[in-house]
Amino acid sequence: MSTPPKFVPQATPETQPYWDGTAARELRIQQCVPEQHTYFYPRTSCPVCGTEEVKWVTASGRAQLHTYVISHRPAPGFTPPYVIAVVELEEGPRMMTNLVGVEPDPEHLELDMDLVVDFEARGDDVLVPVFRPADSEAAA
């Protein structure tokens, strides 16, 4: 039986560089030039100081597990239980993601544990950032 596909995001002109980045397996975030405030999600002015002078930088891909839930309900393309998480990037900003490469069990999911980014397909030509424990073997 075929399962329905996972939700496929679609870029806007302002977020296109982010999605070009994930397609190249890079996590690109933004930083303001005057003060180096680093932020996520992509937008055309810095939410800390308001400047429109902003640039793209490539994140290290290292992060920590800030918080999570284990969803027990079926979602399109997901087999429950699965982990929805908010991670804190080494550069500071937080983002929603999925945890992969780890049992969806609180025993294996300690807050602030070290994670690294990976990329997972959504639809035919979009990659989204997901994270796996830093001490797990890099796979996929």
Partner: protein, 382 residues
């Protein structure tokens, strides 16, 4: 500043599963009930406020009202508290004389309701939906683990919120769930988004409610069968459209800001509040509210609820209709929190608390996205 009052307040005839009533009709029925409660007719109403769907233009037209003041603030389930706040300002400014605030939602049956918005190029579509989130249970729940770690709140204390609210709803014949539960019942119920279990999650129901807000002068000139409820203070705030972008996942800035402004306007502190309604989409939200508004200190909310302070007979009766966890939750619960505060201040509640003269209502909108606060009082509060 002229005194603004809630003159009429009513809910739909029934709450729960109402597949034979459309979203629009839920608005209209509650509006007519509120007008009847106030002893007013459609010709008395010159202002209307409601969320964007089906929207105040549609509701006013269907009722036969031509408003000269319209508010479509649509920021989630707290919107109706925003509407009351905006109505107070409009009435004081002379832009309206009597404002009807309506809520109706076919949250369960989805009759005449718009489809869930899932635009792929929206912010949520790009940065939250791809990760298997399924609406409130899988998003609103995200802060819980962090909150527990930072504040020392235990899972048993989280369950106590649901237990306390069943003590109230067991006295309320209109509540959807009336059977008392234990901490074990809550923890042993089906896992939904761990650590949240089913009994820590709100209901999904159909229903509606409406309010008539006007000046005290107008209300007294017309007379009413019910005590007038004064709007003593109001506040509002908005923070993030995506829960993953909360500045601090263990506190809600918007709860603090909107409540501080409401209490300041009312010239009160938390110790002046007799009765509290905190929008409880999930069991953790009242704990955030108690701490962020300063009713208790940081990390103290779990123990405060577990010790029975918010239960019948406690020092701070909270969510006395049973709340979104046990009374009803159409999706935008805020209207029902206001309705219960009005009933308590009128002395007409099913689980009436003795000697209530002030009530604070904290509304949440979206997943910790916006908030509004109302401080309400009866004659004894003056």
């Amino acid at each position: 500043m002229s005194d603004v009052v809630i003159m009429g307040a009513a809910e739909t005839d029934q709450l729960g599963k109402l597949p034979d009533i459309s979203t629009l009709e839920l608005h209209l029925q509650s509006a007519r009930n509120a007008l009847r409660d106030a002893g007013l007719g459609i010709e008395d109403i010159d202002g209307i406020a409601s969320v964007s769907a089906p929207g105040p233009v549609t509701i006013a037209h269907a009722l036969g009202i031509t408003p000269r003041w319209v508010d479509t603030t649509s920021v989630g389930g707290a919107s109706f508290l925003f509407h009351v706040r905006h109505a107070v300002a409009a009435i004081r400014a002379g832009h309206a004389n009597a404002v009807l605030v309506t809520h109706g939602e076919s949250g369960r049956s989805r009759v005449g309701a718009p489809p869930w918005a899932m635009a792929k190029d929206s912010l949520s579509g790009q940065f939250e939906f791809p990760f298997g989130v399924l609406g409130p249970p899988t998003t609103f729940s995200l802060p819980v683990m962090r909150f527990m770690k930072e504040t020392g709140t235990t899972i048993e204390q989280l369950a106590e919120v649901a237990v306390a609210q069943r003590r109230w709803s067991s006295q309320n014949p209109r509540a959807m769930f009336q059977e008392e539960v234990t901490v074990s019942d809550v923890l042993d119920s089906r896992p939904v988004a761990s650590p949240l279990t089913l009994l820590m999650c709100c209901l999904v129901t159909d229903g509606g409610g409406a309010l008539v807000v006007t000046s005290r002068e107008f209300a007294e000139s017309r007379g009413t069968d019910h005590p007038l409820v004064s709007v003593l203070g109001t506040g509002e705030c908005a923070t993030t459209p995506m829960i993953s972008q909360m500045a601090d996942m263990t506190r809600c800035e918007q709860f603090e800001v909107s409540s501080r402004h409401a209490l300041q306007e009312a010239r009160m502190t938390t110790s002046d509040i007799d009765h509290l309604m905190i929008y409880d989409a999930f069991a953790h939200v009242p704990l955030f509210g108690l701490e962020d508004m300063g009713f208790v200190g940081r990390g103290e909310a779990g123990a405060f609820v577990a010790e029975g302070n918010t239960s019948p007979g406690g020092s701070l009766p909270m969510n006395t209709n049973g709340g979104g966890l046990s009374y009803t939750h159409t999706g935008m619960y805020g209207m029902f929190a206001i309705q219960e505060a009005v009933r308590q201040l009128r002395g007409e509640a099913a689980a009436q608390v003795p000697d209530v003269s002030t009530s604070l209502v904290l509304g949440n909108g979206g997943m910790f996205m916006s908030a509004a606060t109302l401080v309400l009082g009866n004659e004894a509060a003056a």
